[in-house]
C-alpha cells in the first residue's frame, strides 16, 4: 500500500464507523500504543470532517495486561489517556497491524479497568492473519495474507512487507 492508499483506507473506515454507529454519538476512538495512536488521530480528523462533530480520541498502552508482560521491557513514554469515562460509550480500538490478537485481548482487559463500555469495536489498518485468539476486526484497511516469517510495517509512507532477518 502506498501513502495515498492508506489515506483512502482511513477515509473509508471513517465512513464505515459512522455508518455502523449511525453517526458518532457516544463514539470514542482509542489508539493502541504505539502503532495505533497516529492512525486514531487521522481517523478522528476524518470523522470530524465528514460528520462536522468532535469525537474524543485517546490512547491506550495495554502492555501491563499482556500475558507476556514479564518478558517485555517497559516503555515509560507510552501513555494511556482515556479522555472520558468509557462507561456507556462505544469504544473503537485502533491499531496498525492485527496479528495474533494478543494485544487486542490485553486492550479489552485494560479498557475495562476504566469503566464498562456499551460496545467495543476494532479498527486495524492491516489484518495479516495468524490469529491465536477468537478476535476479529470490525473495520479493516487491508487484508494482507502473510507468512509468520514476514513483517508488516505501517508508516507514514504506507505499508511495507518485509522478511524478518
Amino acid at each position: 500500500m502506498t501513502a495515498p492508499d492508506v489515506t483512502r483506507a482511513i477515509r473509508r473506515m471513517a465512513h464505515e464507523i459512522l455508518e455502523r454507529n449511525s453517526g458518532c454519538e457516544d463514539v470514542v476512538i482509542v489508539g493502541l500504543q504505539t502503532g495505533g495512536v497516529s492512525l486514531a488521530e487521522r481517523l478522528v480528523s476524518d470523522i470530524s470532517e465528514i460528520e462536522g462533530a468532535d469525537v474524543p480520541v485517546g490512547s491506550l498502552d495495554a502492555t501491563m495486561h499482556r500475558d507476556d508482560f514479564d518478558l517485555r521491557p517497559i516503555m515509560s513514554e507510552a501513555a494511556t489517556v482515556i479522555p472520558v469515562d468509557p462507561t456507556g460509550k462505544i469504544i473503537v480500538l485502533v491499531d496498525d497491524v492485527l496479528y495474533t490478537g494478543r494485544t487486542v485481548r490485553a486492550a479489552l482487559d485494560a479498557i475495562h479497568s476504566y469503566g464498562r463500555p456499551k460496545a467495543i469495536q476494532l479498527a486495524v489498518m492491516v489484518d495479516r492473519g495468524h490469529r491465536e485468539l477468537p478476535i476479529r476486526p470490525d473495520f479493516v484497511g487491508k487484508n494482507l495474507p502473510t507468512r509468520r516469517a514476514e513483517m508488516v510495517d505501517v508508516n507514514s509512507d504506507g505499508v511495507d512487507l518485509g522478511e524478518i532477518s
Binding site: T34, M64, F69, S113
Partner: protein, 322 residues
C-alpha cells in the same frame, strides 16, 4: 536496569536503576488512578510480609501494592506467630519459604537481618526496614515524590533534619538523593548524629537556621523516642525550638521548597502541627506514592524476567511483527 533479585539497601541500585524504577512507578501511579486499579502482572505470585517490628504504613502499603498487581500478600504477624514461641528467624524463614512463596518483605529490629534472610530462602527479599540501617522503598517513594515536584534532582539541596542517628530513612535517603545528584546535609544536634560520617555522601550542621533558606527539600525525621535511651536532647520542647520546622522557619523556605516527612509524625516536635498541613508539605503524597513505588519494586524483583531477555531485542522483534 540490571536484573535484581533482592532489594536490601539503596547501595544495591545505581542511578540508572533508580531512574528505571521511578519511571515504572509513574506507570503504576496511573494504574492506581483507574476506576479498577488492578493489573494482572503478578498473578499467581505470593508475597509474605514478615514484620518483627510495628508498622502500619509500610505493611499496608506493600499489601496494597501486591494486590494491585494481582499477587497474594500473606501477613505474618510475629506477635501471633511461632516466633513468639521461641522459633528462630532462620526457622521461621525456612518454614515460610517451604510454602512456595516468591517474595519476602522483611521488617526487623536487627540491622542486617535481611542479608542473613537472603541466605535462607529462594524467594526475593525486600528490606522493609532493618533497625537503624536501611529502608530502601521509603527512599524510592521520597525520591519519586521529590522528582515529581522539583524535576531532576541534580544540584538540588536536601536537608535531612532531626534524629539522624536512629533513622534508617536518613541513611537510605542520604544515599538515594546523593545518587540522584542532589547535595545532602544532615541537620541535628551532635547527640543525634551518627558517631562518624566517614564515607557518607553528606555534610552535617547543627544549625537549621543556617541552611533553611537555601534548601529545596526540608526532610524532617521522626524523633524515635523508643530507640533513644540516653536523653539526647534536654526536652522535646527545646528540640522543637532548635531543630523543629517551626512556622517561622517554614516561612523562610524558598518558593517551591518541599516539606517531607516519612511518618508517623510527632506534631510540634520535629514539625509544627500547622506546617504539616501547608500546601508545600507533601507528606500524604509520599504515602500514596509509596504504594506505586512498591508495585514497581515487587514487579521488578519477582515479576520481570528481563534477565532472560536480551535488552530490547524481544520488544523490537514483536513490535516489528505486531
Amino acid at each position: 536496569m540490571k536484573a535484581l533479585r533482592h532489594l536490601l539497601s539503596m547501595d544495591d541500585l545505581d542511578r540508572d536503576d533508580i531512574d528505571y524504577l521511578l519511571d515504572l512507578t509513574q506507570r503504576y501511579v496511573e494504574v492506581s488512578e483507574r476506576k479498577i486499579p488492578r493489573i494482572p502482572a503478578l498473578r499467581g505470585k505470593t508475597v509474605a510480609l514478615v514484620f518483627y517490628e510495628d508498622s502500619t504504613r509500610t505493611r499496608i502499603s506493600f499489601a496494597t501494592a501486591a494486590s494491585r498487581l494481582s499477587a497474594d500478600a500473606l501477613g505474618f504477624d510475629v506477635k501471633r506467630s511461632s516466633a513468639n514461641k521461641g522459633e528462630s528467624l532462620r526457622d521461621t524463614i525456612e518454614t515460610i519459604s517451604a510454602m512456595g512463596i516468591h517474595g519476602i518483605v522483611l521488617r526487623h529490629f536487627g540491622a542486617g537481618a535481611p542479608w542473613r534472610v537472603r541466605e535462607w530462602t529462594d524467594a526475593s527479599v525486600i528490606n522493609g526496614g532493618d533497625g537503624r540501617n536501611q529502608h530502601p522503598t521509603q527512599s524510592l517513594a521520597d525520591l519519586f515524590t521529590a522528582r515529581r515536584h522539583l524535576g531532576e534532582l541534580d544540584g538540588k539541596r536536601v536537608a535531612i533534619v532531626g534524629d539522624v542517628k536512629n533513622s534508617r530513612v536518613a541513611r537510605s535517603n542520604a544515599i538515594g538523593f546523593a545518587k540522584m545528584g542532589a547535595e545532602v546535609v544532615f541537620v541535628a544536634p551532635q547527640t543525634l548524629l551518627p558517631a562518624s560520617l566517614e564515607g557518607w555522601p553528606v555534610s552535617a550542621t547543627h544549625n537549621l537556621d543556617e541552611v533553611v533558606e537555601e534548601i529545596d527539600v526540608c526532610y524532617l525525621l521522626r524523633m524515635q523516642l523508643e530507640r533513644q535511651h540516653d536523653a539526647p536532647v534536654p526536652t522535646l520542647r527545646e528540640f522543637h525550638h532548635e531543630f523543629g520546622l517551626t512556622a517561622a522557619r517554614a516561612d523562610r523556605l524558598k518558593d517551591g521548597a518541599l516539606i517531607m516527612h516519612p511518618g508517623p509524625m510527632n506534631r510540634d516536635v520535629e514539625i509544627a502541627g500547622e506546617v504539616a498541613d501547608r500546601p508545600n508539605a507533601v507528606i500524604t503524597e509520599q504515602v500514596a506514592n509509596g504504594v506505586a513505588v512498591r508495585m514497581a519494586v515487587l514487579f521488578v524483583l519477582i515479576g520481570s524476567r528481563l534477565d532472560l531477555v536480551e535488552e530490547g531485542s524481544l520488544a523490537d522483534q514483536e513490535s516489528a511483527v505486531a
